[in-house]
């Protein structure tokens, strides 16, 4: 047995075979053909190019109608590469002269051009090579018999291993047969970590090269609480793991009993418990755990799932389904939050040197008004099905909020003119996730209906730490005095203006922080599915005054380390007192 330490990204234990996923690079296998095969082979090549061309053209068409022409232009160059004599004529010549199959001939023609580019010193040629390789893979995939571009879900229950997984990859992986995740890159707030927690399966990330070394079918055990990966576990470890899993089941049964009880403190203060979701599939899980509504519906998923921009009707169908399935409970829609770690090439969001400070969130939406308005219209149409709320991400000031609300007005006017059935979100609010939104919270509160603290980004921006960078991930400190003060300030500004303040970031899902969030005065806590009953349990145990006192003490401490210790001591003391009471009764 070999044990590796990583970052604990989603709690729980799992034991099972490895299912490695990686974007496989297709290598053309070489086959010698006869003279008689030449015309058929040339026709196979032409058919593959035609198919690849149709795919690119379909993508370009959507880009042209819904976005600017910039990205379309790059894809347009890819089209020209397909038709290029150095590719088109050269491939056919190689098939004829060397009598080899179309795939191998095509790869050779592309390889020759790459070799030519490699000889040049100019840095920008690298970009051209990437384009060429992209075109090559597109065409190779278009040959019949080649694996489709999308990843396949595991055929039987397994632990998914990967170097890194993009949102589009996890969408393709599906949601069944996944026992857990191990990944080389990423931190506890990466996309895979969030997905794993919503699925209720363990994940260990940041394994620095160990995950990709795992072989298909190899048995591994993962401990998502401690962040450990055990390869080929011995029998003692397996037994221990099974025991821990059984204990977890007992705890889960206890928590299940809380489902229909409100999150109300012994002294009568009520907090709304909501769930964070991405797809309609997760609604039943959220309801089963007792969610009073959806506090954060991430809409990016839909955009990444199919590799194309969803139409207004497609979006309306998905959003409407969520609203219907929530049966009268409110759903908070966050408009498209792309950029940063969610770069999606077909949306025209290019890799940037500083993506988290770049073109993302509301900035991207305001720059792509047609796309933004389409989404808003779909949300308004879905609002005919039940109560909804609308929320804008990455707001840095009132100007963006006003512009976004302006787009809502336009969307509403268009819907009315079209005569389309629609409703209106009950409230329009913003994510508070930038230090500027914290400092200007009073100004923002005057023009919106609610605040939802996005703690992942708020911590990242406030402490100037890249959450994906393992070397600075220690700075992810929810109890840093600057973070506690920021949240307290946002709550104060919101309440002064008479609007509610919630939290939908990862902080809301950490059981140990439940009393802190209560004491900070948050009205709504939106968690990933598995955390909801645990947070609710803590709130039902804790008096509001007691939680306020705890927060006041924490705010006096100078460092996150001291605050962590203080909180741990408080929790241990509470636990001891609770056990005593239980024994007495």
């Amino acid at each position: 047995m070999r044990t590796y330490a990583g970052i604990a990204a989603s709690p729980g234990y799992a034991l099972g075979p490895v299912y490695p996923v990686a974007r496989r690079v297709i290598r053309a296998s070489r086959r010698v053909i006869t003279d008689a095969d030449v015309p058929a082979e040339i026709e196979r090549f032409r058919a593959a190019v035609r198919k690849a061309r149709d795919q690119i053209q379909a993508l370009v068409k959507r880009l042209d109608t819904e976005l600017g022409s910039d990205e379309g232009e790059i894809l347009g160059s890819q089209l020209l590469i397909l038709e290029d004599e150095l590719v088109w004529d050269a491939t056919q010549a190689v098939i004829r002269l060397e009598r080899i199959n179309a795939e191998a001939a095509f790869s050779r023609a592309v390889g020759d051009i790459i070799a030519r580019f490699m000889q040049m010193e100019d840095q920008t040629f690298r970009e051209r090579i990437t384009d060429l390789k992209d075109v090559e893979q597109r065409v190779l995939r278009a040959f019949p018999g080649h694996a489709p571009a999308a990843l396949q879900p595991p055929p039987e229950p397994a632990i998914v291993s990967a170097g890194n997984l993009a949102p589009s990859d996890t969408a393709a992986l599906g949601r069944t047969n996944i026992l857990g995740f191990v990944m080389d890159e990423g931190g506890s707030t990466s996309h895979v970590a969030i997905l794993a927690r919503s699925l209720g399966v363990p994940a260990v990330v940041g394994l620095r090269g160990q995950a990709v070394r795992l072989r298909a079918g190899q048995e591994v055990a993962i401990d998502g609480n401690e962040g450990r990966l055990m390869v080929e576990p011995d029998s003692a470890t397996r037994d221990q793991l099974l025991l821990l899993t059984r204990k977890q089941v007992v705890v889960n049964q206890k928590l299940a009993k809380l489902k229909d009880l409100p999150a109300v403190t012994p002294d009568g203060h009520r907090v709304r418990m909501m769930a964070n979701i991405e797809v309609p599939l997760e609604v039943s899980e959220a309801l089963a755990r007792g969610a009073e509504g959806i506090g954060l519906l991430r809409t990016e998923y839909l955009f990444f799932q199919h590799g194309t921009i969803p139409t207004e009707d497609e979006q309306t169908a998905v959003y409407g389904e969520v609203v219907r399935r929530m049966a009268g409970r409110p759903v908070v829609f966050r408009t498209l939050d792309v950029g940063g770690d969610k770069v999606s090439d077909y949306l025209g969001a290019k890799r940037e040197y500083n993506p988290f400070l770049g073109w993302r969130g509301i900035r991207f939406s305001l720059a792509n008004r047609a796309l933004f308005k389409t989404q808003i219209k779909a949300i308004y149409r879905a609002s005919a099905e039940g109560p909804t709320k609308l929320m804008f991400p990455m707001i840095t000031g009132v100007d963006e909020l006003r512009q976004a609300k302006g787009v809502c007005e336009e969307a509403l006017a268009e819907l009315a003119a079209e005569g389309a059935a629609h409703g209106r979100p009950l409230e329009v609010g913003i994510m508070v996730e930038t230090p500027s939104a914290v400092l200007a919270a009073d100004l923002l509160a005057a023009e919106c209906d609610f605040f939802s603290v996005g703690s992942n980004d708020l911590i990242q921006y406030t402490l100037a730490m890249d959450r994906g960078n393992a070397r600075v991930s220690y700075l992810y400190q929810p109890l840093h005095p600057a973070i506690l003060r920021s949240i307290a300030q946002v709550v104060a500004a919101g309440h002064a203006a008479g609007i509610w303040v919630g939290i939908c970031g990862e902080m809301g899902s950490e059981t140990r922080l439940a009393e802190v969030l209560l004491g900070l005065g948050l009205d709504e806590i939106s968690t990933h599915g598995a955390a909801l009953p645990k947070i609710k349990q803590v709130i039902r145990w804790t008096g509001l005054d007691e939680a306020r006192k705890l927060v006041a003490e924490l705010m006096e401490l100078a460092t996150a380390g001291e605050a962590n210790e203080h909180l741990a001591a408080y929790i241990a003391e509470r636990k001891r007192a609770r056990q005593e009471t239980e024994q007495e009764s």
């Binding site: 232009e73 160059s77 100019d122 920008t124 051209r128």
Partner: protein
């Protein structure tokens, strides 16, 4: 002769625009630079010329509409490449 006006030289997008324009003419167009010759209807050929901003490239045109083609392509290379396509 034409001086390359695109700030990053003959990258793919610039090459793509030259190809698109050249394909509207019946003439055969080749572009010479640094001792290399590229067919102006080949995006890869043009890109592999590695002509930078300010480079002097030679345009050779032969065919029925050679005068119009030469003028249009020279104008594209020396002026229009400086601006994005949709503004040009």
């Amino acid at each position: 002769m034409a001086k390359v006006s695109d700030p990053v030289g003959f990258h793919l997008r610039a090459a793509g625009r030259i190809v698109k324009l050249t394909k509207t003419f019946g003439s055969t167009v080749s572009i010479n630079f640094g001792g290399k010759v590229a067919n102006a209807k080949s995006i890869m050929g043009l890109a592999s010329l590695a002509a930078e901003f300010g480079a002097e490239v030679e345009i050779q045109v032969e065919g029925p509409d050679e005068d119009q083609a030469a003028a249009a392509i020279a104008r594209l290379i020396s002026e229009d490449l400086a601006h994005p396509e949709h503004e040009a």
